[in-house]
């Protein structure tokens, strides 16, 4: 039965996943080409000195892409479900509601994890050819809060869309937006290091919020 839910999610989101993959590959390639051209133009020593001395890691263009991806996937996944309350079809299936909604969330969270891991892996593997290991690690730590932002964005937007009342959606958005904004407070490389356990905790907490919206839907708060 879970296979069937995954099948439905794949049918619904496959075009989006393909598009997201192309955009992510495009942007990672663009960033790598930028670093490569800077290395060629300014020389290795000058570029490394700039990266270390001025904290310029040349990955700023990537900053909001995980967030945009997370938000878009939540919109593509849940808007069709909430349109004419189509989610009633899922909630009427002979399978526990937590399991059915959980498996739908699981599909997208795993998809986002795979996409973000692939981004980070390609970036790290290629950068290793030109940059010292410390700089590659620093670049990864700089991008990490943006990945958290993407996941949190997905959870918060899912929570807002699944909420059955407009008033509740606005409240959810007002609570959720600052949580997501936490991940974009600074572009200073690796400055989020002490915050990762808290971001992880926020991620776990926000993953539970869509279930509360569905619970309210089933109570008839429509």
């Amino acid at each position: 039965m879970l296979k069937s839910i995954f099948y439905k999610e794949w049918l619904k989101l496959r075009l989006f996943w393909c598009l997201a993959f192309v955009v992510h590959v495009g942007l990672v390639v663009y960033m790598l080409l930028s670093i490569r051209s800077t290395l060629l133009a300014s020389g290795v020593v000058e570029t490394w000195a700039t990266m270390i001395g001025r904290d310029v890691l040349m990955v700023d263009s990537f900053m909001y892409l995980p967030l945009v991806t997370g938000v878009c996937i939540a919109l593509c996944q849940w808007l069709p479900e909430m349109q004419i309350k189509r989610i009633r079809l899922t909630l009427h299936l002979p399978i526990d509601d937590t399991l059915s909604i959980g498996s739908m969330l699981f599909c997208s969270i795993v998809g986002l994890c795979v996409l973000f891991t692939a981004d980070a892996a390609v970036l790290a593997i290629v950068e290793q050819v030109w940059l010292p290991r410390e700089l590659v690690w620093r670049t990864f730590l700089t991008c990490l809060p943006w990945y958290f932002g993407g996941m949190l964005g997905y959870n918060v937007v899912s929570w807002c869309i699944l909420e059955p009342q407009w008033k509740g959606r606005c409240v959810n958005f007002l609570i959720g937006a600052p949580i997501v904004a936490l991940c974009f407070l600074s572009t200073q490389p690796a400055c989020y290091e002490p915050m990762y356990p808290w971001l992880l905790l926020l991620l776990v907490v926000t993953t539970c919020l869509p279930f509360y919206s569905v619970y309210r839907f089933k109570l008839g708060k429509q």
């Binding site: 039965m1 296979k3 069937s4 099948y7 439905k8 049918l11 619904k12 069709p80 004419i84 309350k85 189509r86 009633r88 079809l89 909630l91 009427h92 299936l93 002979p94 399978i95 526990d96 509601d97 839907f217 089933k218 109570l219 008839g220 429509q222």
Partner: protein, 238 residues
């Protein structure tokens, strides 16, 4: 109430905010009967369907389907209940074949042939997307899925919405044959009263907040009066 009652709607009261929809509403549907719920707009027909389907919890009273309270019904028991949502809502991004493949593993009595028999009648291709089909064709897909599910109880919310007379007739005839063959219990609403005449055994006529009449439909039809005439006599023209 006995075990042979498939639906037991027991002293249900419901409010939307402070607005009372109905108070202390009671009715029951025995196994094998087709019951139609008639009422003007806003009398609580869809609310009743939503309470029956477990999407709204009533303010007071209880609702039992197949012996289970809808609030605590085990999820697996939902396989015994077929639900048709108003407007024949289904997944528009799926094709005829994909939607069948999606639903099949959920229902132990799934009958693929019943679904494809109806699809052959529609002359639609397996690869056709639901969002490229007319309202009438989509209604037949929804009906085909219900037949493949082979539930004991069918709950149909305004099944005639958006259908032209041809598709309404096809829907009613197919549904009637299906129900008679398998001794199904059906609870339905429709705004086209003529359809109910041909389909239902029993009828409930609702007005704002109460039941005006609950009896076999044969008692409401006379040589001089159609069901629609009786409905207007009871509820008033407007």
């Amino acid at each position: 109430m006995t075990n042979d009652l498939v639906i037991e709607y027991d002293h249900v009261t419901h409010y939307y905010g402070k607005r009372l929809i109905y108070e202390d509403l009671c009715f029951a549907v025995p196994r094998g009967r087709i019951l139609g719920l008639l009422g003007k707009n806003g009398t609580g027909k869809t609310t009743t369907i939503n309470i029956l389907s477990g999407f709204i919890q009533p303010y007071a009273g209880s609702c039992r389907l197949l012996g289970y309270d809808t609030r605590t019904m085990p999820a697996r028991e939902r396989a015994r209940i077929g639900l048709l949502l108003e407007g024949h809502v289904q997944y528009p991004f799926m094709t005829i074949a994909q939607i069948e493949r999606f639903y099949a593993p959920f229902f132990p009595r799934w009958n693929k042939e019943a679904y494809y028999e109806l699809m052959r009648l529609l002359k639609v291709k397996d690869y056709q997307l639901l969002n490229q089909m007319s309202n009438g064709q989509r209604s037949q897909v929804a009906l085909g899925l219900l037949m493949a599910q082979d539930p004991e109880l069918l709950i149909l919310d305004d099944f005639s919405l958006g259908l032209d007379p041809g598709y309404r007739r096809l829907f009613v005839e197919y549904l009637r044959d299906f129900c008679k063959r398998g001794e199904k219990t059906v609870f339905l609403t429709s705004h086209i009263i003529q359809d109910l005449e041909r389909l239902v055994d029993d009828c409930i006529i609702m007005d704002y907040g109460r039941i005006l009449k609950q009896c076999p439909v044969s008692e409401l039809i006379t040589p001089e009066k159609t069901l629609e005439d009786t409905f207007i006599d009871l509820t008033g023209k407007y």
